[in-house]
Symmetry: C2
Subunit: 211 residues, 2 copies
C-alpha cells in the first residue's frame, strides 16, 4: 500500500501532524474534516482523500478522534521511534539547527556534531562537543545513526554524502546548495536560496501592475 | 502571460538559475536542453516546456545561450533588482541567515535586524547592529524594505506579520512553524520540522522491508 502514495501526499502529512498536535494541546478531542479543512485552508475532500491513503481513520458523521489520528500519523511518519541524527558542519546554520528545540520534541535526537575546522572542534554546541570529522566513520560504526544533517559548503558535500551512505546512514538532510543524486539513501534537500528566489519572483510579478 | 504560470514551474526556476550560474562560472557558453536535462536529472521536454512559459529562449538545433538564459531567468525572478530585506528575530537561526553569503550575491541586501530581547539588541550581526523591534515601523517608513525574514517564535508571528503587511512589506520569508494567511503580501514558508518529518517518513517506509 505505502509504495503507491505520492510524495505530494507525504509532504502534507507533517502539516496534518502539526495541526493535530496543536488541537491536542488545546484539548480538542474530535474534529470533522470540514472543521479541519477550515483551519488548514485545504478542502475537506483533500483531507479525506489524503487520509484514505492510510486507511481512513474517520467514521462517517463522527469526525476524527484527534489524539488517535495524531498518533497514527506520527507512526506513519516514523515519529514513534527515536531518530538519531548527526550534524556535519558546525558553522552558523549548523549551530542554529543543533540548538533547535522542536526536533528533540519529535524524537529527533542529535547525538554527534562534526567539523573539520580546528577552531570549532572541541566547542560545546547544544550540549555536545564538536568532534573532528576524521572520527565520523568510527562514530557511525559505534552508534546507531539514522540521519546526517549536512550544513557544509557545496564543494565537499558529494564526497561526504557518499561516504555517509556507504557507512550505512539512511537519510541525508542536505542544506548545501547542491543536488545530491545517490542511490540507497533518502535525501531531503532544503535549498534556502531557491526558497528566497521564489519569494522574489512572487513579489515582482504580483506587484508589477502597482509599481 | 505571467499570471498563468503555475507555482510548480516557478519553484523550478531558481534551480535552472543555479545550474546556469554554475555553467557560466565554468565557462560554458551554450547548452542543449538534452545536456541540461542530463545535468539536472529532469526531462529535456520539461525544460523546454518550463522555458516556453516565458517565451522559449532557445533556437531549434542550437541550444541555449547560457549567459543570456541565466540573465533572463534572473530578470524573471526579479534578481536584476536589489531586494532589500530586514530580519526579525536574531536568535540562532536569524543570526545564521544574517551571515549567509549566498543571499547578498544575488542582490538580497539585508539592511536591518530587529529583536525584542535586550541582551541581543545592540549586538553586531553580519555587520549590522541589532535594533529594538519598537523601531521597526519607523525604519520601514524611512527605508525601502521589500522582504521581512521572520525567525521568531510561533506565538508572535501572526501579529508582527500583519503589522509588517500594513506597513507595506511585500514579502514575508517565514521560518516560524505556523501558517500565515494574510492578504496583500507574498509569503514563503520554510518549515524545517516538516522537512525533517518528510525525511523520517522516507527512511522508515523505504527500509521497512530490510529492518
Amino acid at each position: 500500500m505505502k509504495s503507491e502514495i505520492s510524495m505530494a501526499v507525504i509532504r502534507r502529512l507533517p502539516r496534518y501532524y502539526r495541526y493535530l498536535g496543536e488541537l491536542l494541546d488545546e484539548g480538542v478531542a474530535k474534529i470533522s474534516s470540514k472543521e479541519l479543512s477550515n483551519l488548514m485552508k485545504v478542502t475537506a475532500s483533500q483531507i479525506r482523500q489524503d487520509l484514505n491513503n492510510f486507511g481512513g481513520f474517520g467514521q462517517q458523521g463522527y469526525g476524527y478522534n484527534v489524539e488517535y489520528l495524531y498518533l497514527e500519523i506520527g507512526k506513519i511518519l516514523g515519529l514513534n521511534k527515536i531518530n538519531n541524527m548527526i550534524l556535519i558542519g558546525a558553522g552558523n546554520l549548523g549551530q542554529a539547527l543543533a540548538n533547535y528545540p522542536a526536533f528533540r520534541k519529535r524524537g529527533f535526537n542529535l547525538i554527534g556534531i562534526f567539523d573539520k575546522n580546528p577552531k570549532i572542534i572541541g566547542l560545546q554546541i547544544g550540549g555536545l562537543e564538536v568532534l573532528d570529522v576524521d572520527k565520523l566513520e568510527q562514530f557511525i560504526k559505534q552508534n546507531e545513526v539514522d540521519i546526517a544533517i549536512l550544513t557544509i559548503p557545496k564543494n565537499g558535500t558529494l564526497e561526504i554524502a557518499t561516504l555517509l551512505t556507504n557507512w550505512g546512514i539512511k537519510g541525508l538532510w542536505n542544506f548545501s546548495p547542491t543536488d545530491l543524486f545517490i542511490p540507497n539513501v533518502q535525501i531531503e534537500n532544503v535549498n534556502l536560496s531557491q526558497s528566497l528566489m521564489t519569494l522574489a519572483y512572487q513579489i515582482h510579478n504580483k506587484n508589477s501592475s502597482n509599481s
